[in-house]
Symmetry: C2
Subunit: 188 residues, 2 copies
């Protein structure tokens, strides 16, 4: 079946849901799958929110689309899901403090007013991210305990970051620790 | 709007599609976003196919769901999209030859009969992958030039891999090169 959809939420149902892997085995498998790190910000009118995500991936370059998933257990998730637009910040190792901030619960992620500003269109923007993308939500899929969000990239920028040379190295999350890619980590 | 869906394909439309980032800028941004590496295999009855994907991400542990995107330009993509079930192999640096095999076009990825077998349920399985997940497609979203596939993890296994000690290190793709995580790449 094919049909068109714009900006709507789809809820998935699963046949034979009892057949699947146990949550413990599943978590163990993906704990060992490395991922790049992003912090996503939005404001649906109720105040700025931010969370760290390791699920951001490009989908299509033309039109420019990306996706990520949000756990329904995160308090920031519902604000992001309800926002029309958001900002995805792609993080280097210089932004490790920002990655930690967005992954620690119970912390005011906007306490330091010098760390962030707002874009002219209103979305919260952290100064230190090496690159950011402002995007509009075009579709969401509720899948198990998470929501997959597909967004259209509208504009982007680079913030320059800090002035020490660690910043250019990409940040990777793996097995609850943080890694930095460099010439020393090359596999070939 | 909410509605239920199982195993169907959704095609997204985009409002103001002309507003987005250029494909060049978009590709530059994501070239610098690192990702774990997987090889996905399937057989829809027309013979085995395999492709390397850097978009595999967990979505939900209970039920166990994961997602990835497939470029419509890949010949293997349409076979995977049409398959009921598939295998996602999560790769370590010891499987770099397998990652290269699945990302090189015009190569017979099943030429070496000693490299792969079939699961009892029929899906192609590469022996060397450090971990694999057999999964059923529950939903697909056509988004731009790609398809986002959401799958339900049914069973998993570990293949032991080769016997040299590089194997345990996770493989990361970044800026058209391959990296290996280890104690030396720790960011803290």
């Amino acid at each position: 079946m094919n049909h068109q959809a714009t900006g709507e939420v789809l809820s998935l149902s699963i046949e034979d849901a009892g057949d699947g892997l146990s949550p413990e085995v599943f978590r163990d498998l993906f704990r060992n799958h490395p991922a790049g790190v992003a912090i996503i910000t939005a404001d649906d009118g109720s105040g700025p929110v931010a969370l760290t995500a390791s699920s951001v991936s490009s989908v299509s370059a033309e039109p420019p689309l990306l996706m990520f998933s949000l756990s329904d257990q995160s308090s920031a998730s519902s604000v992001i899901r309800e926002s029309e637009t958001l900002v995805v910040h792609l993080l280097g190792v210089g932004e490790l403090p920002l990655a930690r901030l967005g992954s620690t619960s119970g912390v005011d992620r906007f306490a330091s007013s010098t760390e962030w500003t707002r874009l002219p269109s209103g979305e919260p923007l952290f100064h230190s991210a090496k690159a950011w993308i402002r995007a509009r939500i075009i579709h969401s899929v509720t899948a198990g305990t998470s929501t997959i969000v597909i967004v259209h990239a509208l504009e982007s920028g680079a913030n320059g970051g800090h002035e020490h040379d660690r910043d250019g190295r990409p940040l990777v999350y793996h097995n609850r620790t943080w890694h930095a890619l460099s010439d020393r980590s090359l596999a070939e």
